[in-house]
Subunit: 222 residues, 2 copies
DNA sequence: GCAAAAGTGTTGGAGATACACCCATGA
DNA sequence: TCATGGGTGTATCTCCAACACTTTTGC
């Protein structure tokens, strides 16, 4: 900080933009809406909101996420700050992107319709408003890097899930298939999950063991 | 973005704070100053600056870095955005932290004195102003994670360096010693550096081969 | 001649990869 | 009975870790 007084400097609007990932039908998807206001009316965009004087960035992101999804305690992390001068043509707005992971099954279809949002597959993304496309690519890169050091997959799944579901989410994030036997071995040896003893009969005739996240992991390693 | 007009929302000052790392005397250090203004007069702090209307965040960070060091083309990356309501007691200021890596030998001592900065070892850091300590810890964590996927060490060294110097920087960042033979094997096999053919006679009687960063690496893997 | 830094190879173990078939059940 | 998804084991290979002595030369 130098000696200039604050008033000599300009202020800016600060916003958060939320990248909401979900897993559905074997695909990693995200919630996008078409802008209903200028600038960028009608183009696909992330949902966001201005940061108010009484809240931090993560509080603002949580507020937006809860408003949009009705869910609390959403897994959410900061991606970064975006500040191109003209990223918003109306005024200087600096935006901080957050990614969030939700279980798509928990998500209320009525809210989705009320906000005019769509689940869009991440490998079929349309062009996005302003720098939102960059934010999304940055978030995806972070997801892929962190998948072995943070329990990302579980936030995209129901509380109890089969090994096959776990593998499907994992593959959707890293973007390539993995060997089933090796994956299951790794899953069991790593200790990141525990068998519930319950059997899921919905997705297969034979039935599959349901697992959940091991709550006693000190440092996640997968 | 919702339908409210921009004017309904409050603006904030936006600043950048720079964490300048250097390597000197076998230790990873950073440049810190004691604040010369309120708030926090006299406490150790990062050097920063307000973001002006005409510049992006990274331009502001570059401006501050150049002002402070006289150097251009500094390796610099964003750490994240910090927004606690009272992180600055005078006014709402949202700050984006950047870390920078410089070769301490390039750094002009006169500038250091002019700005009243000190090189402080990262494992002997004093308490820092506001949330600057958090920024520094976050930056260090990023450095440690990225050391194998980004060419960080080279930015802390002169253009030509010995394998021992390279190993010293590496150890300083990860915070623990590594085996010399394994490290040298890895350095050579990875292809991240090339021998210059020149011999450095300054740091040893026998002389050591000088290497430099391999410019033809497409994806850095170490 | 000795102190100080440079330089050099081998072995063992752990973890990752590749790979194909049987099982249980509902329809 | 057959279609569907669930479940399992072994052999190989690659990468990483451990480990100690010789070389050169300025002083």
């Amino acid at each position: 900080m130098n000696n200039n007084t604050y008033e000599q400097h300009t202020q800016a609007y600060v916003s958060v933009d939320c990248i909401i990932f979900g897993f559905d039908q074997g695909k990693l998807k995200m919630l996008l809406g078409k802008r209903t206001i200028a600038p960028g009316l009608g183009t696909w965009a992330l949902y966001g909101g201005f940061v108010e004087a009484t809240e931090t960035l993560s509080e603002a992101a949580k507020r937006v996420l809860t408003e949009l999804t009705g869910l609390k305690d959403i897994y959410m992390r900061q991606v970064g700050a975006y500040s191109d001068i003209d990223r918003d043509p109306i005024s200087r707005v600096i935006s901080i992107a957050y990614y969030a992971l939700i279980n798509a099954k928990d998500y209320d279809e009525n809210l989705r319709k009320a906000f005019n949002l769509e689940w869009v597959e991440i490998d079929a993304l349309p062009p996005l408003f302003s720098d939102h496309g960059t934010m999304v690519q940055d978030a995806l890169q972070i997801l892929r890097k962190r998948i072995t050091s943070e329990p990302l997959c579980f936030s995209l799944l129901p509380e109890k899930f089969t090994l096959t579901q776990f593998q499907n989410v994992f593959e959707a994030i890293i973007g390539k298939p993995v060997d089933k036997r090796n994956f299951r071995k790794r899953a069991k040896q790593s200790g990141v999950l525990v068998a519930t003893g319950e059997i899921d009969k919905l997705t297969s005739k034979r039935g599959a063991m349901l697992y959940k996240q091991n709550p006693d992991i000190e440092e996640f390693r997968f």
